[in-house]
């Protein structure tokens, strides 16, 4: 019985324990479920994270490789460009060096050439002196010419006067007004009166003055200095400073006679050669040559008119050149 009792108590105990345990289990169920969920969620999260991180790793690899590729490509480009720029810089520097040398040389040689400038300035001052001298000469010449004309005028007036006063000439018997017996020599008017021949004063109109004198008139081109002077080429009023000859009586013979001068000329001059003899037989070639030379000179003077440097014009006579004349070369 004891055993039974023991058994019984054991069953009772078991039951009690079962209940207790069941209660306990029921109590813990909620917690455990939560815990289990938590564990599960953690685990799943771990798995997902691992997967994501795996994906990231892959993406990074892809990006790494791509970026490396593009960067290398870009870098190559940059290096190329930099090299090119370096080369260009180098070339430019070299070009500048060459240009610098050349320009310096050119400017010194042609534009700001000290020696040319010096020569030019010297030439200029020489030319100035020359011009001043020439002008002085010319002025002197003109003055003499004017004096000469004045003198001729005066002389003509005197002769005219002498003609008018011809009646005052002294005769053998009676000395004239100008020939005073109390003077050692007669007055110069008296001498003049003796030289002129009496003409009726009405015929001595001023027109005949030049021929009255019987000396070269103002149109005579025998003025010796006019050839030496470069300035005057066309002066009409030339006259000589020879001593004035006494007037020659030039009474025109009446009737159909020619002038004595004409007759003399006719006698002296030889008959004219005919035209065909006057020109040499090489005349044609000479003329052609001349024409050619003329042509070869012409273009030079022609280009100048159209706005090129006009200071070449007509100044071949200037012995010096101006440094500016090379400007046409640079343009």
């Amino acid at each position: 019985m004891a055993e039974l009792l023991k058994m019984k108590s054991e069953v009772e105990e078991f039951k009690k324990e079962y209940l207790c345990r069941n209660n306990q289990a029921e109590e813990n169920r909620q917690r455990e479920t939560e815990a289990a969920t938590r564990i599960q969620s953690w685990f799943r999260a771990c798995r997902v994270r691992a997967y994501l991180s795996h994906l990231h790793m892959k993406a990074i690899t892809v990006q790494k490789i791509w970026r490396g590729f593009t960067a290398r490509a870009r870098f190559r480009q940059m290096v190329k460009a930099a090299y090119f720029i370096m080369k260009m810089k180098f070339y430019e520097e070299m070009a500048v060096r060459i240009q610098r040398r050349w320009r310096g040389f050119f400017v010194r040689k042609y534009i700001h050439n000290f020696y040319v400038r010096k020569r030019y300035l010297q030439g200029l001052s020489r030319k100035n002196e020359l011009v001043r001298r020439d002008l002085d000469e010319l002025e002197e010449l003109q003055k003499r010419e004017r004096d000469c004309v004045e003198m001729i005028k005066e002389q003509t007036a005197k002769v005219y006067q002498a003609h008018r006063l011809h009646h005052l000439l002294s005769t053998k018997q009676c000395p004239g007004v100008f020939n005073s017996p109390f003077r050692p020599a007669p007055h110069e008017m008296e001498l003049l009166l003796r030289q002129v021949k009496y003409q009726a004063p009405t015929r001595l109109a001023p027109k005949g003055r030049a021929c009255l004198l019987g000396m070269p008139g103002p149109t005579d081109p025998s003025f010796p200095e006019s050839l030496a002077s470069p300035w005057i080429k066309t002066t009409n009023t030339c006259c000589s400073i020879k001593p004035i000859l006494p007037p020659i009586a030039s009474k025109k013979p009446q009737g159909l006679f020619r002038e004595p001068g004409d007759v003399f000329e006719q006698r002296v001059c030889c008959p004219d050669l005919t035209l065909c003899l006057q020109t040499s037989y090489t005349h044609l070639e000479e003329a052609q040559n001349q024409l050619r030379q003329h042509e070869s000179l012409r273009p030079h003077s022609h280009t100048l008119g159209t706005g090129s440097l006009p200071h070449h014009l007509s100044h071949s006579s200037t012995s010096f050149t101006h440094p500016d004349s090379v400007k046409s070369f640079t343009q």
Binding site: Y120, S125, K127, V131, N236, P323, D324
Partner: protein, 507 residues
Amino acid sequence: MSQRQIIQVFEQYQKSRMQFVQTVADLAVRPQNIEILQNAGVMSMLRPLLLDVVPSIQQTAALALGRLADHSDDLAEAVVREDILPQLVHSLASQNRFYKKAAAFVLRAVAKHSPELSQAVVACGGVDALVLCLEEFNPAVKEAAVWALGCIARHNASLSQSVVDAGAVPLLVLCLLEPEMALKRIAASTLSDISKHTPELAQTVVDTGAIAHLAQMILNPDAKLKRQVFSALSQISKHSVSLAEMVIEAEIFPAAIACLRDPDEYVRKNVTTLMREVVKHTPELSQVIVNCGGMAAVIDYLGDCNGNLRLPGIMMLGYVAAHSENLAMAIILSKGVPQLSLCLSEEPEQHIKAATAWSIGQIGHHTPEHAKAVATANLLPKLLHLYMDASSSEDLQAKSKKALKSILQKCTHLPALEPLLYDAPSNILKHVVCQFSKVLPHDSKARRLFVTSGGLKKVQEIDAEPGSPLQEYINAINSSFPEEIVRYYSPGYSDTLLERLENFQPA
């Protein structure tokens, strides 16, 4: 009454008309009679006589009318008011040469007074009639017609244009070829009057080949003709480069320079004017004239004349110098600067002085060398004096200031600059001190001289506003000297020394 007696009446009438006209014409010669004649109503009495049956009366009436109109513009206006001009113009075409001459004289006398009167002559067709007269054979008629055309063309461009439109220019050029000296002269003068207004008119004159004919007359012995020729050439060349080049191409130059020694002073003046007009256009044209020795001749000319005759020469030097430094150097070499200095001191007129100052400025403003040439001619104090002179005109002051400034900015010739330190006003002093501050740091001799001549002392005495350019230049000068010297020359240094003496405690 017999026939003889009847005729005698007419003869008497004609004689007395003739006498009246002749007396009036004679009276009109004297200016004091004009007013009395005018009050007596001479205008309205002469008018019917212009239409008289006897040609000699007509002609004398025209002559009297011309003389009256010649004297005053009131009378000339009266001639226009009386409607005499159309009548004259009408008969100009039909009458004989004496009448033509007298009528042209009337037209000239009317036209010469004012543009309005000339316009009246043009309006009644006077120009065309005068141009017809140019085709006349008689040189006296031509001369009168050319003169009248010249009086019309003188006033303004539109009147000249009307003369040109009437086809006068070719005929005028033909007149240049006539043997009569008076006709040549007046034709040249008329061409000059026509071409002076506009480039187009000058171009028309050139197109008829006038330059070649004018150039041929340069060596003509007649002085008055030469005057007109040179005046015409200068009026043509003043307008443009191409016209000036055409004038140069006529190869007038060495010959024209010879005319600078002409006995007639107006010939010389006109030659110089021509050279001025040519030179002002381009450096190349100036070069042409310089190369053929024109510069020396003009400078000599400046020495020979005075007054207004000098003005073109002075201006020519300025124009040439303005083009390039080479040309300015050429002027200096031709001894132009002393001559200009002489002009500056001799001429009393303000405008000539102003032109001279301008020319000097143009010569000196290129390089230090040029400035030195100007400075050694002792021109800087003169210019300064002109600038400071209260009696100088505004223009003269402005020009001399500009010249002074431009020369000072290039001048490195210190001995010439030093006098300016003492008597220049601050706006000029600035440039002077600036030049010193540029030169002194690099030139030890100049520094020494600057101290011994008292320049440094003067510089210390200048009281400049701090921060102004003048102060900066002074500082630059001071920094090129030892501090003691600067302090020694500063004003009030002796006081400082005395103060130090008082404070000094001997040990």
